[in-house]
Amino acid sequence: MPVTPYALRVRDVRKAYGSRQVLRGVSLDLRPGTLAGMVGENGAGKTTLLRILCGQTAAGSGEVDIRGSLGYCPQETVLNDFLTVDQHVRYFRAAYGLRSTGRAEELIEELHFAEYRHTRVDDLSGGTRQKLNLTLALMHDPSVLLLDEPYQGFDWETYLRFWSLAARLRDSGRCVLVVSHLAWDAERLDVLHRLREGVAEPWEPGGRTAAPADGDGR
């Protein structure tokens, strides 16, 4: 029997903060070329799970296996206020060891913030900071993408562009996991998981229509 290829495999990941058990055995398999979503109410452990997947937080137990390079877009914009957009791109080009900033240039054009290339981050709006935050996670064209509420602060047009970009990444074989506390985007996803009581389960919101997770509204 052929082995199913996977890009991201999570097995029985558990995590507790003191006596509070946040993750009680999360298991998940995502194949290359998948656009997946993970929803859950505030405090369900979504960000903790992503931080474990990218290595920033240690799991209490369990296994994580990621095949290929990884891109992580944190929920809070993690940028340097004193540097410009271009300087961030150059800094991360050196970090990723890239030959050129070609992919970053494409993303900057696609997300429509080229006019701010020479603007320092502390002079950028929240939405533009988030565009840069996302660009830094994608500019090395990773195989697996972990995006934590990646469209916070985006206007409607940018929000749509984000989903179009995510779909193209999926079509080119990338595995994209988008975490949100809302299930508004269920129709755009290939697979949706819901993190509830520390466990991730496949979930299909009622009739595949837009619905908030556990009563969380926008």
Partner: protein, 269 residues
Amino acid sequence: MNGVNGTWRRLGTAVGFALLEHARNRFALVLVLFYIPLWLSLESWFVARKPASFMLRATGRTLTVDGNHLTMISGAVNTVTLIVGFMMFMTTFKSLAFDRRLAFAGYPRVHLLVAKVAAMTLAAALIAAYATAVVHCYWAPVRPGLLTAGLFTAAVAYGGIGILLGSFLRNELEGMFLIIMISLLDTMLQNPISNPEASKDGVHLLPEYGPTQVSMAAGFTHAVPYRQLLLGPAWFAAMWLLGTAAFHLRTRDHRPRGRTPRPAGRALD
């Protein structure tokens, strides 16, 4: 060879951006440009020009000097320690999450830390030279070059303390408070104004002790206290090593080794 080029390129990039960060830190620039002259000018104006005696342990001699000049040297040491201490605390504290993101993207942690030190060294040298120049506007220290060196060692000692505090504290106010308290205690315990004899064992272990001895010797004698010149940098080295350990702990990768590749792209040519 490609690897060596890549290493230097990454180090150069990190140093360049660390310097840029300091240059764009307007608050620190305002402190340097206006606070140092203000502090020293106020001391020059308010402190009486009466003789003051103290034991310069670096030479083993008791000196009697102009109390106004003594206060200005003490003030110069104090201003550079506070400014560089704050500067390095803030830059380490505020950039911790960003540095962690860079490290996870593949930036060698050592390069990021060395870049911070290189930028701090240049900033400390410029600030020490500027403070010496301001002192020189009011009176002529015997060895102005050595005074700059003394102030530089004071600055790097507190720069190291700032890096250490910035690496593990989680609150800006805690860092500010601690730097002021450490500096106050340090000054009160070994400074020739508050403790002219400074005769108790262990006083030489205080971070400002070596730099103060060098600065006093530079202001009033022809002696060069080489041993005391090393005490400030020794403090810096100890603090930096502890800060480096804290930085590694807070930016370590928790993924199992050997199973999960780093999130890097292609190799740098």
